[in-house]
């Protein structure tokens, strides 16, 4: 090796290193610049002001706890007790929580020595440790109170409305009614609503105890009361999940069935006519490019909201995706196997059946099964738009902005559902292709 060769090689090496160094520092710099740009475009500094911390706190506490409302109508003097303040969570006549006592004077013990008393004639007394006794009198639409002028930040008061937030519970007073919210951990009434005879009974008593309802056995009664629970709507939730999985299943399998013959038209080896091939490919590109969102919008106009619309939207979009990958798989088919089958005197259809299909089936099945899982997720999202399945229930629960425990429940169910479909598709892949991932 001469000196010139050596210096040339050295020069090359130095240049290569310089380029690598440039890339090594350049790419992170570009990413950083881009993220800075995004930081300002998405207005992240302003986000802190827009963010509603109170919402976050309600969300976080409501998702794992529930509250029982004790409401007094100041006009009639009636007191009602209801879980989450909902009609279907109301305590039956003559029943009330154990922490409420008294007949004329109703005493509500919130715990931690926080006590609220509903006195006759729309008067209310609130005892909070370390604070003077609060007395409020409702007169028409106004409130007369003995609150001091400088209030701590956990009390908000005007002559129309008083709100008190304590660690033990919340109290709101208006001229029309007085309400106390007492918080408890857990999802109340998840199994049975208050009007069911099985509410508050242990599992052992339901299974082995004497009949609570003389007309039917405990197990049937308990199951049907749970299934028809008006608060948590287990029946509707089960149907919704079924609908979502159905959308994914129908969409994926339908797309695969339609895409397979079309893929033959798009594959160079099986489709000699250039025009036909190009047309099929453009069709695939088109349906893929229009995207599930637009298909959902268009189809919802024709078929109305529901699972079928979602299934068709998935079907149309995925026909394009499958068509593309299937035709690629078909182009990579090994010619020898087809020749071998042809040498036995097989007709064209038999050549496809025994020469081509066995080669591509594992690839296609793997693809289809992977999409089955990913479409379960898409079906949740499409359901939220077109109105079907668990996606719709989730959006509705979020839009009411108060049933956060239901939102949490649906989220858990969705995650479990997707993981289950993931497992099913993996299991099926193992069974059908004989290879576990």
């Amino acid at each position: 090796m001469t000196a010139t060769d050596l210096s040339l090689a050295k020069h090359d090496a130095v240049r290569l290193f310089e380029r690598k160094r440039l890339i090594g520092f350049g790419i992170p710099t570009v990413i950083l610049i881009y993220l800075t740009y995004i930081f300002f475009v998405f207005d992240l500094p302003g986000l802190a002001q827009r963010a509603n911390i109170e919402n976050a706190v309600t969300l976080a506490s409501d998702s794992w706890s529930h509250k029982i409302h004790v409401t007094r109508d100041n006009r009639s003097g009636d007191v009602t007790y209801a879980v989450e303040g909902e009609r279907k969570g109301r305590y039956p006549e003559g029943q009330r929580p154990a922490w409420v006592t008294g007949q004329d004077v109703i005493t509500i013990d919130l715990g931690g020595e926080h006590i609220v008393r509903y006195l006759p004639e729309s008067r209310t007394e609130i005892e909070i440790p370390g604070f003077p006794l609060i007395q409020v009198q409702a007169e028409g639409r106004n409130l007369v109170n003995n609150l001091p002028d400088d209030l701590p930040d956990w009390i908000s008061a005007s002559n129309r409305r008083i709100g008190i937030t304590t660690p033990e519970g919340r109290i709101t007073l208006t001229g029309a009614r007085t309400e106390v919210f007492n918080y408890f951990p857990g999802w109340e009434l998840f199994w049975f609503t208050l009007d069911s005879p099985y509410h508050g009974q242990g599992l052992g008593k339901i299974l082995f105890g004497e009949r609570l309802d003389p007309n039917q056995s405990n197990l049937t009664g308990a199951l049907s009361d749970w299934w028809n629970n008006a608060m948590w709507r287990h029946k509707d939730v089960a149907w919704a999940i079924g609908e979502t999985i159905l959308m994914a299943f129908l969409g994926t399998m339908g797309a695969a069935l339609i895409a397979l013959p079309l893929a033959f038209l798009a594959a160079k080896r099986f489709s000699p006519i250039l025009l036909l091939r190009a047309a099929t490919r453009r069709l695939f590109d088109f349906v893929r490019g229009v995207d599930a969102l637009i298909w959902t919008v268009v189809l919802a106009r024709a078929f109305g909201p529901g699972p079928l619309t979602g299934a068709l939207a998935i079907l149309i979009t995925d026909t394009g995706t499958f068509g593309k990958t299937f035709s690629e798989a078909l182009e990579n088919v090994d010619e020898k196997q087809i020749e071998g089958v042809a040498s036995t005197g097989a007709k064209p259809l038999q050549r496809y059946r025994f020469g081509v299909i066995p080669q591509v089936v594992p690839v296609l099945l793997a693809q289809v099964l992977y999409f089955l899982e990913s479409n379960t997720r898409s079906a949740t999202i499409i359901g939220a738009i077109t109105g079907g399945g668990i996606g719709l229930m989730l959006t509705q629960a979020i839009q009411t902005q108060k049933d956060w425990e239901e939102v949490a429940y649906y989220i858990v169910l969705i995650v479990v559902m997707v993981m289950f479909m993931d497992w099913v598709s993996g299991w099926l892949r193992g069974k059908l292709i004989g290879r576990k991932d």
């Binding site: 998405f42 963010a51 129908l250 699972p307 738009i385 997707v418």
Partner: protein, 291 residues
């Protein structure tokens, strides 16, 4: 055939044939049964879906073209406005692409760490491998819309909730794909680096990343395609960008179909454009690897 030779006794052609025929018949029976179950599932599933849909399949079939025709005809009547509308919605398009790009970037970085920490042989804390795998499973299983809707409630509408939601899902999805690639990485460079006293991050950066980078970039590009679609869809539920504008234009109904048409065109063009670019680039990446 294996079980025939295991049978021990010498076999003549006739019994081999009958065995073979029995085997073929059995596999045909199973195949037929599977097919039957599949057909029953498809047909009954279709009927259930049709029942629970607001409009029936057969009634709606001939109406599929109506809505696109309405939109197209109105857009065609006002075709002179089209360039203006395209320009009007271009910022929304940029927002949609930005959401997809940032979330892909953040998701890819997250997925990178999840994959390296969750792969046997590479993990910094081998005992925590199952933990990181479960984390990536859960992140992957959560549909974007769930996180987006909850975050919209807390953070208000806009691109940030969509960005976070897509980034979380992307990190989980890429974490799984990345770790499949990382499993096949050659460990010798890592051993060599360890022997020189390199730290874990140096081993990963210099020993593993160069091996897996082409595949990682290819998967990330694929994710970017998917995320553009996802970001458009999330816009539809209130997270800003093109989807949000589409919903507004559609809620207005006839009279603003020209705007809906412009948004359709932008969305379609963008998706096709990025699909083409990314698939070309991905092909180059994987081909370069084969050489």
């Amino acid at each position: 055939m294996a079980d025939i030779s295991l049978g021990g006794a010498p076999q003549n052609v006739g019994s081999i044939q009958s065995h073979y025929m029995a085997q073929v018949q059995r596999s045909r029976l199973y195949g037929g049964l599977t097919l039957l179950v599949f057909i029953v599932l498809m047909v009954s599933g279709f009927n259930v879906a049709d029942d629970r849909n607001a409009g029936g399949f057969w009634d709606g079939l001939h109406q599929i073209g109506d809505y696109p025709a309405d939109v197209l005809s109105e857009a065609w009547e006002k075709r002179t406005d089209l360039p203006g509308l395209l320009a009007k919605y271009f910022p929304a398009l940029v927002e949609t692409i930005n959401i997809a790009a940032v979330s892909t970037l953040i998701g890819a970085i997250g997925g990178l760490f999840l994959s390296l920490l969750g792969t046997r042989g590479l993990a910094k804390w081998p005992r925590l491998i199952p933990l990181f795998r479960r984390i990536s499973d859960v992140m992957r299983a959560v549909p974007e819309i769930v996180i987006a809707l909850v975050l919209i409630f807390v953070l208000g509408g806009g691109p940030v909730p969509a960005m976070i939601a897509i980034a979380i899902h992307t990190a989980g999805a890429l974490g799984k794909m990345f770790s499949e690639v990382a499993e096949n990485a050659d460990l010798k460079p890592v051993e060599g680096l360890t022997s020189t006293g390199a730290t874990w991050s140096q081993c990963m950066l210099l020993g593993v990343l160069p091996q897996v980078a082409p595949n990682y970039v290819s998967y990330t590009l694929l994710r970017f395609e998917i995320n553009i679609r996802a970001s458009a869809i999330l816009g539809f539920v209130g997270a800003g960008g093109l989807g949000y504008e589409l919903r507004n234009a559609m809620a207005w109904g006839p009279g603003r179909f020209d705007e809906a048409g412009a948004i359709f065109i932008l969305l379609f063009g963008t998706i096709v454009f990025f699909d083409q670019v990314s698939s070309r680039y991905r092909n180059r990446l994987t081909e370069g690897q084969g050489q």
